[in-house]
């Protein structure tokens, strides 16, 4: 009951004006839908893993009418990249745990592949799970990191593009003072302990 009263009160208060249904004439929507129909369609194709350079290469042709598509016919995006990689024996998401077959040393570090500026590596010691996971950050500027718990050395192997467009402006225009490595024991006593 109070709903009705409120609704009628609102109706009375609203200013009288012409009821506009649409912003543009309906005749134009016919043109619009025709436009869409006649526009050239992007026909996908099945590319091999080596031919895939970007997201545009991951459009699939789709199934023939009346058939059930397969994943190769139709999968798209990251799902397709994973599928194409698997078909050629390549695991595009390297989800294996950190190599713990040995303890990394400065001379012979554990190699961590990374395509970005930074990569995290979770060390659990040698043999694996000897200690709680310690997250080590290796970067392009500082590729070697040492586990505080067990001394395991990991090193970033950069596998990203040669010219990284993001590499020019590290603090994204904020202009913080540049990061200075804190001085350590090695700076004063034994400089050869520094890996650089």
């Amino acid at each position: 009951m109070f709903l009705q009263r409120t609704a009628s009160a609102l109706a009375r208060r609203s200013p009288a004006r012409a009821f506009t249904l649409a912003q543009r004439p309906f005749s134009s929507s016919v043109i619009r839908s025709n436009e869409k129909k006649w526009a050239p369609k992007q026909e996908g194709k099945i590319l091999t893993f080596d031919e895939i350079k970007g997201e545009d290469d991951l459009f699939a042709p789709g199934a023939k009418p009346g058939t059930i598509p397969t994943d190769l016919d139709q999968a798209t995006g990251l799902e397709r990249l994973e599928l194409i990689g698997k078909m050629q024996g390549i695991d595009i998401f390297d989800m294996r745990p950190l190599d713990a077959s040995r303890k990394g040393t400065l001379q012979d570090p554990i190699i961590v592949n990374g395509a970005g500026d930074e990569q995290y590596a979770g060390c659990t010691g040698f043999p694996a799970d000897s200690h709680q996971v310690t997250w080590l950050t290796v970067s392009r500027e500082r590729p070697i990191e040492r586990c505080l718990e067990c001394g395991n050395v990991v090193k970033l192997n950069y596998i990203g593009p040669e010219e990284d467009p993001h590499a020019h402006d590290h603090d994204h225009g904020h202009h913080h003072p540049p990061h200075v490595e804190p001085k350590t024991f090695a700076d004063y006593v034994k400089p050869d302990y520094w890996y650089r």
């Binding site: 009951m1 709903l3 893993f49 080596d50 031919e51 895939i52 350079k53 970007g54 997201e55 991951l58 789709g62 199934a63 009346g66 058939t67 059930i68 598509p69 397969t70 994943d71 016919d73 139709q74 999968a75 798209t76 995006g77 990251l78 799902e79 397709r80 990249l81 994973e82 390549i90 595009i92 998401f93 390297d94 989800m95 395509a115 970005g116 596998i159 990203g160 593009p161 990284d164």
Partner: protein, 269 residues
Amino acid sequence: MIYKSKSNFQNHPFHLVSPSPWPLFTSLSLFILTTATVLFMHGFQGFQYLVALAVFNVIYVMALWFRDVISEGTYLGNHTNAVQKGLNLGVGLFIISEVFFFLAIFWAFFHSAISPSVELGAQWPPLGIQAVNPFELPLLNTILLLSSGVTITYAHHSLIQGNRKGALYGTVVTIILAVIFTFFQGVEYSVSSFTISDSVYGSCFYFGTGFHGLHVIIGTAFLAVGLWRLAAYHLTDHHHLGYESGILYWHFVDVVWLFLYISVYYWGY
């Protein structure tokens, strides 16, 4: 390619979802639905309209949300193997939670049925309750549901084998059987001699069969969405997680009916 173009793609298989309004809208719709339902059931005037509006709202927001998920999975390719595993696990856990929901309902039934109190006439069904004959409509409904299990399995295997017609017809027949089941349950409700307020028997009977019926309706909608996506070429022979989840849900509903039939209809007759 791997080293040259790898940074063009994310280097992990997980789907980090983008901000979405649907969780908030779903919560609001459900809050309005529960509030309106409580007020309606306590006799507040006019709240049946708000209940109806809230039900519409919940379904509408769910549709928009699932539409987004379909876009992400089918059109954007975000559902990698790892994502599919996670979704599967989610469906499995959801169905386990449903199992325990029905376990509670059966518990309530057996609590009263195994040792009927003296107020019930120390018998089950209670004195004065004329239970439904399990060998009439309920038996037919059992046959309908078991048959729908057969047809949906046929449809699923057709899909895996790449037989589009078989998959489509199998799903259509399943949905028809499901609708007939729901219709007959409605018939049974309308001709039964007791109501939900007729002793603990009526409460338990309609609690169990009512929620089962609701699940049948949801499962039918689930399969109907699968049918649409099958017809619209969304589903491949390997990747059809939504459809498969609908099938799993349907089997769950089927099994619940068997337990209902055996314990509430047959044993309780």
